[in-house]
Subunit: 218 residues, 2 copies
DNA sequence: GTAAAAAATACCCCATTGGGGTATTGCACC
DNA sequence: GGTGCAATACCCCAATGGGGTATTTTTTAC
């Protein structure tokens, strides 16, 4: 086990597939299978014990599914790359996985050498997607299922105080509570809120909150 | 010119690039350049005269840009595949193009053989994306810039009357006006609105309107 | 260094909205 | 013939939103 080997953790509920993948990884120079898990129910312990560079993730697993595990891992261990593998051609799942932070996507019927290439590619910072998946991704953009929010439009020039007030609104406080927590009067809160609405181009509390959450105004 | 050749139209403002692409296409068996255009200003005429299977589209063009042209072509001639090519690594533009209906995406510094492969791939129904672009696409999903709308969630079981009221709300009428237009009392409008909010799982006029518009409740 | 602009504070008025009830009528389904 | 639902209608009241005006402080600009 040389220092240059890519450590891979396998999350896969099918024992045959799991064993096959493990054999391929351990039988190929440059790759080590550092952990094999049948589900994601103990994902945190699994990750800590196997210390992978790349997690090969099945979407369909009993208990916690691959999408949830992907979300958790990218939240807690953002340096670990996740390569999603599935037999399903389910667009919905693919997109959930992509949104959860997967780095790449391959189909289960891809041949072993494709797996190895893909693992290598995510490890090097790339983004392997099989042709089938790529097609779905592009197709999805053409459909009306995606709303893009321009990164440019996220600068609303809110003042620090306004951001504080907005934050308190997102937490669900009403004007009275915001006033108390900010040590200013009810009417001042209202004035700030009016300014916030003008800057965000919205006309209600809920719209402002939506915009704040979706565009990460903190 | 055999029957099996792929007809390609080039939209590209740079004359050098344009001529080079034309030469490559016409010099390679299986490909024909059926039209060469410096901009998209007469896109409809250009498409009708060149009858392409695939349009090779530059994003940056004087007058109508490649994204707008892509949108028009996919609207009017959905059978034509569009391969976007650009020197820019601009995520924003890439996503606009993808949303406009592009079938594939290559970078201008890709070598000629990649162009030919990509043209062949879109023509066969594939979705070529260069590794750089793929990375951006996947990265975009992980960011907070994309909102996915599940197709499943669009049935809210609104009654006919409730849909009417919601429609009047979308048009900007207040309760009083809705009441007058619907020949019912102000209070009845309020009752309907409360029911609508419960069914849509929202808590304000603006959220309800957003949901109605985005999910096409009529 | 001073003038202009922006931010933060505070108050006024009042219409509109939202959530919690209750209640009656009519219609369909079993 | 009761049970459920849609449509109608009213009550109370808290919360929100938009329009003002005004003072003080801070920042920015020339």
């Amino acid at each position: 086990m040389g220092a240059m080997e890519i450590r891979v953790a396998i999350f896969e509920d099918n024992k045959l597939v799991r064993d096959a993948l493990e054999a391929i990884l351990n039988g190929t120079p440059g790759y080590t299978c550092s952990g094999v898990f049948a589900d994601g129910n103990n994902w945190e312990r699994s990750i800590k014990s196997s210390q992978p560079d790349v997690a090969l993730m099945d979407i369909e697993m009993p208990g916690m599914n691959g999408i949830e595990v992907t979300q958790h891992i990218t939240d807690e261990f953002p340096e670990i790359k996740i390569l999603i593998q599935t037999v399903f051609n389910d667009s919905e799942k693919i997109f959930q996985a992509l949104c959860a932070g997967a780095s790449g996507y391959i189909l289960k019927n891809d041949p072993p050498h494709k797996y190895l290439e893909a693992i290598n590619e995510v490890y090097s910072g790339g983004a392997p997607i099989s042709a089938t998946v790529a097609k779905k991704v592009l197709g999805f953009f053409s459909s009306k299922n995606v709303v893009l929010i321009s990164p440019e439009s996220t600068d609303y020039q809110l003042s620090e105080r306004e951001k504080e007030i907005l934050h308190l609104m997102v937490e669900g406080n009403n004007y009275r509570t915001i006033a108390d927590k900010s040590f200013i009067s009810y009417e001042t809160v209202r004035t700030h809120v009016k300014h916030i609405y003008k800057k965000l181009h919205v006309a209600s509390r809920s719209e402002a909150i939506q915009k704040a959450i979706h565009q990460g105004i903190h």
